[in-house]
């Protein structure tokens, strides 16, 4: 039997004052302990609203949220002690040293009693700090003012800080925004390592789809609703076809041969000489073998999560326009895309559909 979910979001609704529609409209999903879960969506989809509610900085309008057994409505303090957060905007105190930032955090979480200086802090704190500083490569710089740190170092320090109280869930709200590619990769190496060693559940929001490829499951929000939920591979596969793009010196002959052999094909684009044949990785070799017409080009197209994501959001927005024009809703059914072990109950499924 699978363990109970560490995050359970049930019919969550948020409508801001004076807003004419819900920022989060009846969203339900579960996250399993130790899972790497990623929330995606365009700007204004409700990601930050959702994460703000889950991290107790925003009150929901309706629905329930339980994190690590603590109900958000009745036990916010319990939720707070179970989660760590790396905010979208930098949240270090630049007037303090890195160590002072971490120390303050540790005291706010009730790990140690307050002491006015590092030397007076207990040995356990010093050891943990030194270990964490080593892991992120801060070393002796841990005693330097935060304002002397680079953007990448600050982000790492924030992650260190949010992990010092051993949270069960770590929320990462666009953690790599504004970082250069090297710092971004560096931070992710560290995060994925931390996840393995500390067995922490990761809850990520990001605009970089490549970061979400590593997630166990992704959840795509658009206009406050879930439009896709499943493993990155399933979401991609359920939405976009994998195909082989074929070009021949004699396109007419190629088309005739494919039709004669009963292989379904479509024009790559209207008026294009190339043709598309649906195929997974394993189908490519037999397909090529079966074709006698001389080919001039062959390209296997495997859509990325980013392609799928863009298609999803585009479809949803198209649906919204059609809906506005009275043509009914364009729904996307992802029932089969939900992989085994995915903790989605019947109610959530309904929401997805």
């Amino acid at each position: 039997m699978s363990p109970p979910p560490i995050i359970r979001v049930d019919h969550l609704v948020k409508r801001y004052r004076k807003a004419d529609r819900d920022a989060v409209a009846d969203v339900s999903f579960d996250v399993a302990p130790g899972e790497f879960f990623s929330l995606l969506g365009p700007n204004g989809a409700g990601k930050t609203t959702t994460i703000s509610i889950l991290t107790t900085t925003l009150a929901p309008t309706g629905g329930t949220v339980t994190i690590d057994g603590h109900d958000l409505g009745t036990d916010a303090a319990g939720v707070r002690s179970s989660v760590g957060i790396t905010f979208q905007t930098p949240s270090l105190d630049k007037n303090l040293s890195a160590e002072e930032n971490v120390r303050l955090h540790a005291i706010l979480y009730g790990l140690y009693p307050w002491r006015p200086s590092y030397t007076l802090m207990p040995g356990a704190y010093k050891k943990r700090l030194a270990d964490l500083a080593d892991v992120v490569g801060l070393g002796g710089d841990i005693f330097k003012p935060v304002r002397t740190f680079s953007g990448g170092m600050r982000r790492k320090l924030e992650v260190v800080r949010s992990l010092i109280h051993h949270p069960r869930v770590l929320f990462l709200d666009e953690p790599t925004t504004g970082l250069d590619p090297a710092s971004r990769r560096d931070l992710w190496t560290y995060l994925l390592e931390m996840r393995q060693t500390a067995d922490t559940t990761l809850f990520l929001t990001t605009h970089y789809l490549a970061e979400a490829e590593d997630a166990g499951r992704i959840c795509v929000l658009s206009r406050g609703k879930i439009i896709a939920l499943g493993t990155p591979a399933d979401v991609t596969a359920s939405l976009l076809e994998r195909y082989v793009l074929l070009g021949a010196a004699d396109p007419a002959a190629l088309r005739a041969e494919l039709s004669a052999k009963g292989i379904a094909w479509t024009d790559d684009a209207p008026g294009s000489a190339n043709v598309r044949v649906a195929a997974d990785e394993g189908d490519v070799q037999p397909l090529l073998k079966s074709i006698d017409t001389p080919l001039t080009s062959v390209r296997t197209v495997l859509p990325t999560l980013e392609d799928a994501y863009l298609a999803l959001v585009e479809r949803d927005e198209l649906g919204a326009r059609e809906e506005a024009a009275g043509l009914g809703e364009a729904g996307i059914v992802l029932g089969d895309a939900l992989g085994e072990g995915a903790l989605v109950d019947a109610e959530s499924r309904e929401v997805i559909q």
Partner: protein, 269 residues
């Protein structure tokens, strides 16, 4: 709720504010500039004219007024900085820590009061430098009174903050609330004879003076320093006991309403 955890967190939040101030050299210098200007220029001109023919030392009068006003204002402004913190700074992290909202506010009021007291020390030294005379017991009495003035200023700031959405808005409205009190509260010139003429304007000014929260803080400090109402001949408006009672009630109400509003907003934001 673990009381020892909350108290330790309160100390940590307060200590952070104090450290922030002590490490900011330009802010420490700035602390002295305004009171010095007020004491020397406003006190030397406006205050001197207003105090003409009175039996008390005008410099001491102005110094005590500015001393109280500076600490009161600094505490109030300090609390308002919580708005800025919440918007773009470190306090996001404080607000998601498993702490009571009361602990956060308590730590903030304590911290800003400590900062104001540190500023008070600087202004006190400046007072000695320009020749303000006092005996040891007078100087010692200033300590507990200063703490009360700081907490009272913090209560005012808290009420204001709970009613404002942004730091900018608060900073824009603050001068409108402070500047009239500068005069009506009797910081640099006596306000005991405001109602003397008996016409509508005088009576209105006297009324406004009486509802200026700062008036009572300034008067308490002077009352304790001068040792009651009588010996000071018009420098002190009411007995320290009366001022203390007003501050306790007004400060208590400000703090209660401000805290309740703030905590409610935090929940429904």
């Amino acid at each position: 709720m673990n009381l020892s955890h909350e108290l330790n967190a309160m100390a940590a939040i307060a200590y952070r504010d104090l450290m922030k101030f002590l490490r900011d050299r330009s802010r420490i210098v700035g602390t002295l500039v305004f009171p010095a200007v007020f004491i020397l220029i406003l006190g030397g001109t406006f205050g001197a004219a207003a105090a003409e023919g009175r039996a008390f030392d005008m410099w001491t009068f102005v110094f005590l007024g500015v001393f109280a006003q500076s600490m009161w204002q600094s505490s109030a402004m300090g609390i308002i900085s919580l708005l800025e913190d919440r918007e773009n700074d470190f306090s996001q992290a404080i607000f998601v820590a498993p702490l009571s909202r009361y602990t956060i506010l308590g730590g903030k009021i304590l911290g800003e009061s400590l900062v104001s007291l540190a500023q008070g020390v600087v202004i006190f030294a400046f007072g000695l430098l320009i020749g303000i005379r006092m005996d040891v017991s007078q100087a010692l009495w200033l300590i507990p009174v200063s703490i009360l003035v700081c907490l009272y200023g913090g209560a005012f700031g808290l009420l204001l903050m709970a009613n404002m959405k942004s730091q900018r808005g608060a900073q824009q409205i603050f001068p409108f609330l402070l500047l009239p009190q500068f005069f009506l509260g009797g910081v640099i010139s006596p306000v005991d004879k405001l109602a003397e003429k008996g016409d509508v304007i005088s009576l209105s000014l006297d009324f406004l003076s009486r509802i200026s929260p700062l008036r009572y803080a300034v008067d308490l400090l002077r009352g304790v320093f001068f040792g009651g109402v009588e010996p000071s001949q018009g420098a002190v408006l009411a007995s320290p006991a009366f001022n203390l009672a007003v501050m306790a009630v007004v400060g208590g109400v400000f703090m209660a309403i401000g805290t309740a509003m703030f905590v409610r907003q935090e929940r429904t934001r």
